[in-house]
């Protein structure tokens, strides 16, 4: 299929190159995303998917939404994209309603369930979305091919029917269409589910590039470590309510268990349970368990963890690995309800 014809209704915006899609907010100002008192119910009000949710996402910010299944995360994304009608409340993207067509000119969306047009070929699919997005028709094929390459798909993959794509390829193609035209707002629903480690690294790099270009990311994911890597702030959603909104730096103030592993070249006198306990106590860390060549310490914060490692190294413990038992987000996730469920 060749979508090389004129762009309908004269809708045109920036290409897939370096420049972000120009905002069309009132007065051309970027105001990010504002959600106020958002409520959404299903089944005639029996199921309250979102309950008076209010939050704001600053322009250029990477904002994560995490929470258990059925918490209302996908509903929130659906409302942000104008695919769902809220019962009450207000959403503004760049000062405009979420379902405003001008907003959709500057947004990209990667759904969790990648139901793409299976009868199309990969490259045609990108050209189709390039046209739908109102991008420059003269550069359609070129930019579609570049988008394909950007997500690590080959020209041969692009000529293949989408119905033959693996889950990982679909995810890459989905991201390629979301990135078309360098959107100013990117809504990603479980962006790295079902992709291989190489794909995960590619996604990280692409999202990092988008951030550097000033794009605002809203990421809904269960992959807490990835959210932690990418996002500036995270909203914990549970039972349709935002339980807390935390900046990731705030996680540094939370206590955690650090698993320390040492090498065989360590001083044997330094790695006895007694000595390890003394080293920890000296820097405010309590030794929880020792199973050579490993020990578990409870530390107060990031600084406490760093000081503990320095002390152990100085005492002749050749630390080869020190990892938190749970990521900062996992702990934040558990803390609001104190229920210990992930």
């Amino acid at each position: 299929m060749r979508y090389a014809g004129p762009t309908p209704r004269g809708k045109r915006r920036a290409g897939a190159g370096g420049e972000l899609a120009r905002p069309r907010g009132r007065g051309g100002l970027l105001s990010g995303i504002e959600i106020q008192g958002l409520t959404k119910t299903y089944r005639g009000g029996q199921v309250r998917a979102l309950d008076n949710v209010s939050l704001s996402v600053r322009p250029g910010e990477a904002f994560g939404i995490i929470g258990p299944n059925g918490a209302g995360k996908t509903t929130l994304l659906g409302c942000l994209l104008g695919l769902l009608r809220p019962d009450a409340g207000r959403i503004a993207v760049d000062g405009r309603p979420a379902d405003d067509l001008a907003v959709r000119c500057v947004t990209g969306y990667l759904p969790e369930r990648l139901v793409l047009d299976r009868w199309m070929q990969g490259l045609d699919f990108l050209a189709y979305h390039h046209a739908l997005a109102g991008l420059d028709p003269a550069r359609r094929r070129e930019e579609a091919a570049a988008a394909l390459e950007r997500v690590g798909l080959t020209p041969a993959d692009g000529r293949q029917a989408i119905r033959r794509y693996s889950r990982g390829m679909l995810q890459r193609l989905g991201l390629a269409q979301a990135l078309l035209g360098s959107p100013r707002y990117l809504f990603l629903d479980e962006p790295i589910s079902g992709i291989d480690p190489a794909g995960v690294m590619l996604f990280r790099r692409l999202l990092s590039e988008m951030r550097q270009r000033g794009a605002t990311l809203v990421i809904n994911s269960h992959q807490l470590d990835e959210v932690e890597r990418i996002c500036d702030r995270v909203a914990f959603v549970k039972g349709g309510k935002v339980q807390s909104i935390e900046t990731l730096e705030a996680g540094a103030a939370h206590a955690r268990v650090l698993r320390v592993r040492w090498g065989t070249s360590s001083d044997p006198r330094a790695v006895t349970p007694e000595r390890l306990s003394v080293f920890g106590a000296g820097v405010g860390a309590s030794l929880e368990e020792v199973k050579p060549p490993e020990a578990r310490y409870r530390v107060a914060d990031d600084d406490g963890a760093a000081t503990l490692i320095e002390t152990l190294l100085a005492a002749g413990v050749r630390v080869i690995e020190a990892t938190p038992e749970s990521g900062r987000l996992e702990r934040l996730f558990v803390e609001p309800g104190k229920e210990g469920a992930k």
């Binding site: 209704r9 996908t74 659906g78 695919l83 769902l84 067509l101 959709r104 046209a131 997005a133 269409q177």
Partner: protein
């Protein structure tokens, strides 16, 4: 109207093997009749409605069932624009098939020295095109209400119901039943008899208004229904 959506619709239809097979058979069978049988005339080429049904079945329901609409409406495309583009694309494609078939058919008739007069041909062609646009609009409405190709089934069932009511009316001598069947038939297959309209006699404005109001109502309702529909798997 969105040319991109129309192009995508045509491509989607062309990639569906059962659909193409059905349309090919409805395209070629009447032509074979005209080629080998004398005196058949234009009557065998009342295929506009069939082309409209085969081209239009699942016009919106298929996209809705497959889940592709979510991604589509995340783009700067209004739902009204989508509905009208699908309708126009399907109706234009079915009209083109009808006209192509008619052109070949007239050629075959000419071989038998049975070519119709230009006026008769123009009225027949116009009637077929109106029938295509009318039927496509009804399918479009059904398609916003029913998943997959449920609209195809709905239009067939409604058509059979109309016929059954008229049959029942004849059996039980119930004129109201006949009227009900007639109205259902008129709704399912909106058409205008251009022969009567341009025949020089009194114009039946009821027929004209009935046709255009059916088409308009179907399009308007389809847009309203799709506008009200929520498109997220969060609703499941």
């Amino acid at each position: 109207m969105n040319q991109v959506l129309i192009a995508a619709l045509l491509q989607q239809r062309a990639r569906s093997l059962p659909r193409v097979a059905l349309m090919l058979s409805f395209f070629s069978l009447p032509l074979l009749v005209l080629l080998f049988a004398r005196g058949a005339g234009l009557a065998v080429m009342h295929t506009g409605q069939a082309f409209a049904i085969f081209m239009g079945a699942g016009l919106i329901g298929q996209d809705m069932s497959s889940g592709t609409l979510q991604l589509l409406f995340a783009r700067p495309v209004s739902r009204g624009e989508y509905v009208l583009s699908r309708w126009l694309g399907a109706a234009l494609a079915a009209s083109c098939l009808t006209m192509a078939q008619l052109a070949i058919g007239v050629g075959f008739l000419a071989l038998h020295n049975e070519a119709p007069a230009a006026r008769e041909l123009a009225i027949f062609a116009g009637g077929q095109v109106l029938s295509v646009f009318g039927t496509t609009s009804v399918l479009l409405l059904f398609s916003t209400l029913l998943p997959g190709t449920g609209d195809f089934l709905a239009i067939i069932v409604a058509g059979i119901t109309g016929q059954a009511l008229q049959l029942g009316a004849a059996l039980f001598k119930a004129p109201w039943l006949a009227r009900a069947g007639e109205e259902i038939g008129r709704f399912v297959a909106p058409a205008l008899d251009l022969g009567a309209l341009f025949g020089g006699g009194p114009i039946s404005w009821f027929e004209v208004v009935s046709y255009f109001s059916t088409v308009t109502l179907c399009l308007a309702l389809a847009i309203v229904i799709l506008n009200r529909r929520e498109l997220s798997y969060a609703t499941e």
